[in-house]
């Protein structure tokens, strides 16, 4: 016989006694005798495998039995045994969803999600987790469209979307949230209509704003998973850092031409985007989809991979794409996978982070706002569409060099221009007369600015960049030509 001291929360199971006598030669035998006499204790002291729960501490006098002989620790009649709770808790790792307080499904929802419910890996509980979950899509564009649609169809409880753009004809080739009648509408209004029609059970929250360092934490806070569907580096780093700072998983995807990438960043032990790319590429080195193009179905594949990862994180099945970087090549129709490791020196998720709050991401990525450029230089090196038209009408002798790709040149061009794609300029510039005044031009003015810099560096003195590219030319001078 030895005395066992019972902690407050277990006393209802021992007829309110704070000490109970039990028989046995070891701690294990004593506890077995205790739970025989007071069977209600069993579920709280032992797990389903019959092992003492990890947060149940048993002391013989003042010694933890873990440091003695565990349950084989011998006891004498004079010993006092204490059961002492470790009280532990915390937020959900991965996704903050309380299994203990999930919303119920309506009969309509049970019917709607029946193909989920009959899979043992999903079932009612996982569907309830989806219903309780909140996912925030950054962008209602190429990636955001399929991701938002599948998440809505799957029954995510709340779907937030951040975007501030309007629907353009050039979006429709891939941004399937929007249809032809939506051109000119706000993307959010169009998205909301489409998603509400798809599944009225899903609460669609829209945020018509640019994502900034000032609003990101506030916007992300109520959400469980962030789905990064952005198309530029400053926002990508912003989304990454905000996710790491808030401890929220980031279902990441990006697309360019025929290639897509996907991963899950920002989880507790997993790497983040900065572990992979500590620094952004120099501005202009990596062209955007507007400059380089993208195969319309590609965001369909990558956005749906992101939605799949979000759903897996929420319901807790399978192997998430944490620490793995998936690369998809649509031309070869191949998936490759790179291993990613968490970088202990990572400035945001490493052991001694230097980025502890959101920073100026435009500046970090070297994207200087146009207003910050010295105006005098602009005037000397740029020409507007209207000025160009006036000078051409006046009969000025100007050589117009179009530095786009041949397929772009096929769509529209300024009469009399010659085509030298940017990549060919270094080997073909001597086709140009150094004494002649040259106007370089591309789609929007970015690539031609690089060509102008190059030409000046090799001694061409009179080089002007067409501000706003051919798009501005079509807007202001020649509206008969198609835009892309």
């Amino acid at each position: 016989m030895a005395k066992i001291l019972i902690p407050t929360p277990l006393r209802p199971y021992t007829d309110k006694q704070d000490a109970v006598d039990a028989a046995g030669a070891t701690v294990g035998e004593l506890l077995a005798d205790l739970t025989r006499k007071h069977s209600g204790l069993k579920a709280h002291l032992y797990n389903d495998q019959g092992k003492l729960r990890s947060f149940v501490n048993v002391y013989v006098n003042d010694e933890d039995i873990r440091y003695l002989q565990k349950e084989q620790t011998p006891v004498n009649a004079s010993d006092t045994i204490s059961i002492i709770p470790s009280v532990a808790g915390g937020v959900e790792v991965g996704v903050a969803e309380p299994a203990a307080s999930l919303p119920e499904l309506t009969n309509e929802e049970i019917k709607r999600y029946s193909r989920h419910l009959i899979m043992p890996e999903v079932g009612i509980d996982a569907q309830r987790k989806l219903k309780a979950a909140k996912v925030l899509c950054i962008g209602a564009g190429g990636l955001g469209s399929p991701a938002a649609m599948y998440l809505t169809a799957a029954g995510v409880g709340t779907l937030g979307i951040v975007d501030f753009d309007t629907v353009d004809f050039s979006n429709l080739q891939r941004q399937i949230l929007h249809g032809t009648p939506d051109v000119g509408r706000s993307k959010l209004a169009s998205a909301k209509d489409r998603l509400n029609a798809l599944n009225p059970n899903v609460k669609v929250e829209t945020y018509e704003t640019a994502l900034t360092s000032q609003n990101a934490l506030e916007l992300f806070k109520p959400y469980d998973v962030i789905l990064d569907g952005t198309d530029n580096f400053p926002t990508r780093y912003l989304v990454n850092d905000a996710c790491v700072l808030l401890g929220k998983p980031n279902a990441y995807g990006s697309i360019f031409r025929f290639e897509g990438q996907a991963s899950v960043f920002g989880t507790k032990n997993g790497p983040c985007y900065r572990c992979l790319y500590p620094e952004p590429p120099p501005p202009g080195l990596v062209p955007s989809c507007a400059e380089g193009g993208v195969l319309g179905v590609l965001p369909g594949i990558v956005g749906v991979i992101q939605a799949t990862e979000a759903i897996k994180l929420i319901i807790g099945v399978g192997e998430p794409l944490i620490g793995r970087f998936l690369i998809f090549d649509a031309l070869r129709m191949k998936f490759r996978e790179l291993k990613l490791r968490k970088d202990p020196d990572c400035p945001v998720c490493g052991t001694h982070p230097t980025v502890t709050k959101l920073i100026d991401y435009e500046q970090f990525c070297g994207v200087v706002p146009a207003a910050a450029e010295p105006a005098a230089v602009n005037n000397a090196t740029e020409i507007t569409s209207v000025e160009l038209k006036q000078r051409l009408d006046r009969g000025d002798k100007l050589k117009i060099v179009d530095v786009r790709e041949p397929n772009e040149y096929q769509i529209n061009r300024i009469a009399g221009s010659v085509l030298i794609p940017l990549g060919d300029v270094p080997k073909r510039y001597n086709e140009l007369d150094p004494d002649e005044e040259i106007v370089v031009q591309c789609k929007m003015g970015g690539r031609s600015a690089k060509a102008a810099d190059f030409l000046r560096s090799v001694g061409y003195k009179r080089v002007l960049n067409l501000k706003g590219g051919i798009l501005d030319w079509i807007d202001k001078v020649d509206p008969t030509q198609p835009k892309y």
């Binding site: 209600g40 002492i84 470790s86 808790g89 959900e92 903050a96 309380p98 299994a99 307080s101």
Partner: protein, 150 residues
């Protein structure tokens, strides 16, 4: 539905503790009697799994909390903890580590500001938590926050 009554001082002390330790979780003991919490004891968070997402009250502090409760002529009524940047709802982890009869108060602290406060009780079969109703009573002890480990 189980209910719990807390004084204004208890409410303020829990919220202040949550703000103070943000972005880490705070934890402490609730002391009282018959569903009324009159005192709180702030306890150190001794988790080794990252205090942003976890809290752990070690056995020695638990013993101390029970001792203080009986000194005050009351009982240990439960524990409180904060959920930094997460809702004031119990996680699966909370459920896995919960003790019966205890009241579990959770305060959500979002970006350093205290928000929702809820109370939860473990169901007898350990299957889930049941949300209790949290009432505010008279403030009998204005000076309620006491650190066990200063």
């Amino acid at each position: 539905m189980s209910s719990l009554t807390i004084s204004a001082g208890v409410d303020a002390a829990i919220r202040a503790h949550g703000r103070e330790t943000y972005p880490h979780e705070c934890c402490g003991a609730l002391v009282g009697r018959n569903g009324i919490v009159t005192d709180v004891l702030a306890l150190p968070n001794t988790t080794e799994e990252g205090p942003r997402r976890r809290f752990l009250v070690r056995p020695s502090d638990y013993r101390e909390a029970e001792r203080r409760a009986s000194e005050l002529g009351a009982e240990l009524a439960g524990f409180y903890h904060s959920h930094p940047d997460h809702p004031a709802r119990p996680s699966q982890y909370d459920l896995d580590h919960a003790w019966p009869t205890f009241a579990y108060i959770i305060v959500s602290v979002a970006a350093g500001t205290d928000e929702d406060m809820t109370v939860w009780f473990l169901k007898d079969d350990r299957s889930s938590f049941e949300e209790g109703s949290l009432h505010h009573g008279e403030n009998s002890h204005p000076d309620t926050a006491q650190a066990v480990h200063g």
